[in-house]
């Protein structure tokens, strides 16, 4: 599993979902969690953290956001040499096959469909860690 000090960025336009994800991460022992309310806000945060030598180590993002959707944030990250290796989890109500395929093609590390419970998020995080550690 990821180390307890792992730096997370949680991106969702609804504060409630950010709160739920932070709560689950806290229960799993992760306290270094920051938030962004949209892909448009998140991208400069990700870039400046990488430039400052303190990059985010895991990105957890919603899909459906007004400014820059999660899928477009994912594509932008994969085009950026500094960000392309960062594990990227999509947490979304978009659960149709075509959405999952689009995210997989764009390089998503794992995909959690809302509604979800803490056990599901923990399992997906563990799987994502194994995938990136391999």
């Amino acid at each position: 599993m990821f180390a307890p000090e792992t730096k997370f960025l949680v991106i969702d336009d609804f504060a409630t979902m950010r709160k739920i994800i932070k709560k689950v991460l806290a229960e799993l022992g992760f306290k270094n969690v920051q938030e962004a309310d949209d892909g448009k806000t998140a991208l400069p945060m990700l870039k400046s953290a990488a430039n400052e030598g303190s990059p985010y180590q895991v990105i957890i993002s919603d899909w459906n956001m007004p400014g820059l959707a999660g899928i477009d944030l994912l594509k932008a990250c994969k085009l950026d040499p500094q960000l392309k290796g960062t594990p990227f989890m999509m947490v979304t109500a978009e659960s149709e096959q075509n959405n999952i395929i689009e995210a997989a093609k764009a390089g998503v590390s794992d995909y959690v469909v809302k509604p979800f419970n803490a056990a599901t998020l923990k399992t997906k995080l563990t799987n994502m860690y194994k995938k990136h550690a391999a």
Binding site: D13, F14, A15, T16, M17, K19, I20, K23, N64, M65, P66, T92, A93, E94, S95, E96, K114, P115, F116, N117
Partner: protein, 165 residues
Amino acid sequence: MGAAPNVNTNPLLDRKLINAFVDGVTRTLATMASTETTTGAPTIEKEFSTKGDVAGLIGMVAGTMKGTLTISFEKEAVFQILENMLGEKYTELNDQVADAVGELTNMIYGCAKTALNEMGYGFEMAIPTVVMGKARIKSFHTGATLVIPFTCTTGKFFIEITVQT
């Protein structure tokens, strides 16, 4: 992908549509908020009328069909659901409650949309709006409304669907 739905059927009378939303509510509240709900009998009302104290609205678009999904909560019901979901007690309608109602609307619509699209509908995802206060809710709707009532231990909430074909 299942067969395309019969376009001549009034969507408000479509059992599959009703079941998709009932399942969306039941699954979302059980998974995210450990809240059990009881579903009442669906009815069709001639005009939309406000039922709750806070509501999430989402535009439903599938080809030429346009509609609105409203999920309206009595405040006692939403306070219980949020306490179960977030582990915090709520006693007044505020921005945090509005945000949570928006996210619940998003998840419930997402669940129903997936089920309906697998049957051949083509609903698109949209971003919900939240309104608090009865007068403001009324202006979003015209025409017949499908109403599905739900009960949890402290109060009621309602799925309301209007459709223009």
